[in-house]
Structures are given as C-alpha cells and as structure tokens.
C-alpha cells in the first residue's frame, strides 16, 4: 500500500533477510494492516504515538520537545500579522478609494502573491547577508525568530487586511451607523467605537484559523531558517520514512488546529453576545 519499507531503511544496505524480518517483527510491520491500524488507533486515543523508528524515542516526547519553538514562531507571526493588518485594514475601509486604501490593497495583493518561503529567503538575503542584522542560521534567541516570524506573518497579514477592510466597509454601510450619526455622535465614535467593534468580529474567527494554518506554514519556514521546530521534526520523519513520527505529527497538528478553532468559537461567543446559545 505504501511504497518504501521502513524496515529496509533501518536495516541499512548490508542487512540479511533475517535481519529485516526481525526488524519487521519488532516494529510490527509484519502484521496485517487492519490489525496495525486498530492497534495504532487504540494508542492514539491515549496520546501514545508509539516510538520513532529512527531515534527509538517516544514520538509524543519528541513532539513536545519541539512544539514550543513552533508555537512561539506561530504566535509571533500572528502578532506581526495583526499589527500590520488591523490598522491598515481599518484605515482602508474608512477612507475607501484613497491613496492609503490603494496602498493597502497593493500590499495585500503582493503579500498574498509572495510565497512565505521566498519572502524568508529574501529577508535572509537583505537582512542577514547584505546587512548582517540577523543571523543566517541557528536558533535559541528571539533574534533568530524575528525574520521567520515576519516571513510567516506577512502572507497572513495580507489575508487579514482584506478581510478587515471588507468587514469594516460592510459595517459602515449598515443602518445603525446612520442612526448613530443621526443622534449626533462624533464621526470618531461612530467609526471607531460602534463600527469597529462589530467589524472586527469576523476578523477574530479568521485570525484563529490563520493561527492554525501557521502551524502548517511553519514547516517550510523552519526549513528555510534551519529552526529545529515541529515542522523540521515532521519533515525529518517524512525523509526517513519514520511512519510513527509522520502519523504522530499529523494527528498532533490536526488536534492543535481543531483546538484553536474551538477556542476561537468560544472567544467569538464571548465577544458577540448575539450568537450565545442557551
């Protein structure tokens, strides 16, 4: 079913047939597939992803060892993306078809078109090679995280900016805005108190989903910047055909992704009393 026998990879080139059979028996790949799958499923619900075929360590331990770096990268990226997207998005909506709006839309189109890994390479080229402000390799300090977080955050900022603008434009055209103006509120109150609070609601949802996507995007960014996070661990698993590691990584990220979406849903109902159920 799956090309590539992990037993052959572990055994190496000089292995005899008996060696390979012994390894297959040890890691359980000699048993029928449905049995292997049920076994694995039973262990996953107890948060046991088995042991890595290459390092022999438990996959769960390996994941948690690396997850901190990836999470801080994603959170920093999210922060950068929000700081860039929200102000520009709001100003674009308030002053539609102005110079700032076109600038914002241009930035957003460019941000969506430039893939984050290429942006990462360009940032390295500009700020690590030409002007050596940041390190070219390595990890361990905040300085190592800045460029990858910018690379990760800009693409997300582009999406958030568009959404913020669209959502604000929609809110500003609603009737309560007219009412607020009619009862004599200042433009500032109307725009930045009434419309902004409603306009930012959908942004919260999308920002949460974006955070989940950053966990995926981090795979490539970690590779570009040689950061030893979850993404590189996962890729190492892929390159080495370390199936427990791949499966553990996928299930873990999918779980984290769903957890973030769940938390966002809760946050959303806190922010928006209208959708609170029972």
């Amino acid at each position: 079913m799956v090309p590539g026998d992990p037993a052959l990879v572990i055994a190496g080139v000089d292995a005899t047939a008996e060696d390979i059979a012994a390894i297959r028996a040890r890691i359980g790949t000699d048993r029928p597939l449905p049995a292997q799958y049920l076994d694995w499923l039973w262990r996953v619900v107890r948060f046991d992803f088995g042991t890595s075929l290459t390092s022999g360590q438990p996959v769960t331990a390996l994941i948690f060892e690396r997850f901190g770096l990836t999470l801080s990268l994603a959170l920093l990226g999210m922060l950068i993306s929000l700081v860039v997207a929200l102000p520009i998005g709001v100003v674009s909506a308030v002053r539609r078809w102005s110079f700032w709006d076109y600038l914002g839309m241009g930035f957003s189109q460019a941000g969506m078109a430039v893939p984050s890994f290429w942006l990462g390479i360009l940032l390295l080229l500009a700020l690590a090679v030409k002007i050596p402000l940041f390190p070219l390799f390595g990890s361990g300090s905040l300085r190592h995280l800045v460029l990858p977080a910018v690379a990760l955050g800009i693409a997300r900022a582009a999406v958030l900016l568009r959404l913020t603008r669209a959502s604000m434009v929609e809110e500003l055209s609603k009737e309560y805005v007219i009412t607020a103006r009619a009862k004599g509120l200042t433009e500032r109150m109307v725009k930045y108190k009434h419309a902004l609070r409603n306009g930012l609601l959908p942004v919260v949802t999308i920002a949460g989903i974006q955070l989940g996507y950053m966990l995926g995007g981090a795979i490539i960014i970690e590779q570009v910047f040689s950061l030893p996070g979850l993404g590189r661990l996962f890729l190492f698993g892929v390159y080495q055909r370390d199936f427990p590691l791949i499966q553990g990584g996928v299930v873990f990220v999918a779980f984290a992704f769903s957890l973030i979406n769940f938390l966002v849903d809760i946050l959303y109902s806190v922010l928006n009393p209208r959708i609170r159920v029972g």
Partner: protein, 271 residues
C-alpha cells in the same frame, strides 16, 4: 463589468502576463537560450552577464532557461490539480445537494474532515505516502482542494434547486439529469470558474513549496521551488539565484489572484 478603469487595466495586464507565461511554457525549447539541464561546470555561480542573462547556478546551468522551463512544472501541476479538484469537488457537491440527507451528511463530513488539516501539512503527508514527484503532487493537491469546490457547488445547487425555473422544469417532467445539465450547471459555472482561478494560484504555491522541500519535482527537472531550494544554500555566493524563480512565482500567483478577483466582480456586480 468592472467600473474602475484601473482595475480593468490590471485585469488585462494579468491576462497578458499569463498568456506570455503559457506561450513561454509551450515554446520553451524555442525561447530558452540553453538546455535547462545542461551543466557548464566552468561557469558555475556566474553572475548575470551577456551570455547568461540571469546568471548560472551552482552547477553552471543557465538560470533564464531554467526559469522558463520551470513554468512548465508550475502550470502543468496547476492545470491538472485544478481540473481534479473542480471535477471531483463539483461532482461531490452536486450529489450531496441532490441526494438523500444521509448521503449529503456523509459526503460533507468527509469533505469537512479534509478541511480540518493545514493544507501544506496534508499535502506533505499525502505525498510522503504516495512517493515524491510532480504526478503525486498533482493528485495530492487535486484531492486537497476538492472540498472547497464541493462546499461551493453544494451551497449554490441548494439555492438553485428552489428557483422557479428549476421547479417549473421539474414539473414539466424533465429528467433530473437534464435539469442538472440544462439549468443548474450553467448557473454554477461562473462561480466555479472564479474558484478555479483562485485555486490555481494556491496550487502553484503548493507545488513550489513541496518542490522546495524536495518532495515535488525531482532534480534535474526545472521547477521554481527546486531552484529556490538550491538558491538557499548559495545565498552568500550567488544571491541572484534566489531572485528570478521567486519573481516568476510571485507574478504568476498575483495574476491568477487578480484574474479571480476581476472575474468575481464581473459575475457578481453587487459587490
């Protein structure tokens, strides 16, 4: 119709760029000055010059030729993957909307579960099981983006099902298949085309990303992602290697996004 002239000019510029790109991809052997895989080992890491307009890479291969040939990988993966996801997704969406509620629930559950993974992660996982290569990337990406089409087509079909002309046609005894082909599909087409354009852009990025990670195009196949992977290792010695494949990639994505935006504005004048 697009009201702002600037937007219309952008739309035509995007179309023009994509047409040139498509032509360059088809006629690559005619327009590329060198073979994309021919190594000039005496001219390794040469900066842009008259003989090599964009310079050479670590194996002395001409970067202009490789960038031109790289468009083939990008466009081929885009066309095939978008075709797979549009056909597969539309079929699932149509069946879900027109069949029994239990089948609808089952199909949408499968589609939604695909959407609960970050795209890149899912693509890497599928490719790691199918094996590395462009064909595998096409299949993986095609399946991954199918749910977007399924949800779109399902929602649109559910709305169209209650339109007067569809009900009238059904009342006249038109077979279900004919109703779908005559009344539902033509009305879906616009939105599906817009989604195709947006998905194309995403697909091109995924192809480059997977090739960058060594899971997509395999050397010596020229691919923008693979070229950027080589460039990363020679940033200090040959910064020009990192520039042009990325520019080609970014412009392609940009043009497909502009195309999608303009088309959706044309087909949905209310926005």
């Amino acid at each position: 119709m697009i009201r702002r002239p600037a937007a219309r000019r952008l739309y035509y510029a995007a179309l023009l760029f994509l047409a040139i790109l498509g032509a360059a991809a088809i006629a690559a052997p005619l327009v590329a000055p060198y073979s994309p895989t021919e190594q000039h080992l005496d001219r390794r890491l040469a900066p842009p010059s008259r003989t090599h307009l964009l310079g050479t890479d670590n194996l002395g291969r001409d970067l202009l030729s490789r960038t031109i040939y790289g468009s083939r990988s990008a466009l081929l993966v885009g066309i095939v993957s978008v075709a797979i996801s549009a056909l597969l997704g539309s079929l699932v969406g149509l069946v879900a909307a027109l069949s029994s509620p239990s089948l609808d629930n089952l199909l949408m559950l499968v589609m939604d579960s695909l959407l609960s993974f970050p795209t890149v992660l899912l693509a890497i996982t599928v490719v790691s099981f199918l094996g590395y290569g462009l064909v595998q990337v096409m299949i993986a990406v095609g399946v991954i983006y199918a749910p977007t089409f399924a949800r779109l087509v399902r929602a649109e079909t559910l709305a169209l099902k209650n339109e007067g002309y569809v009900e009238a046609s059904q009342a006249l005894g038109t077979p279900q298949v004919l109703v779908v082909f005559r009344h539902i599909l033509p009305n879906l087409l616009g939105k599906v085309v817009v989604q195709c354009s947006i998905t194309f852009a995403l697909t091109v990025v995924i192809e480059a990303s997977l090739s960058y990670l060594g899971l997509g195009a395999q050397p010596p196949t020229p691919s923008w992602g693979l070229m950027l992977k080589d460039a990363r290792d020679y940033l200090v010695q040959a910064p020009w290697m990192a520039l042009y494949p990325g520019l080609a990639l970014a412009f392609t994505v940009l043009c497909f996004n502009i195309l999608g935006d303009s088309l959706s504005e044309r087909l949905n004048p209310k926005l």
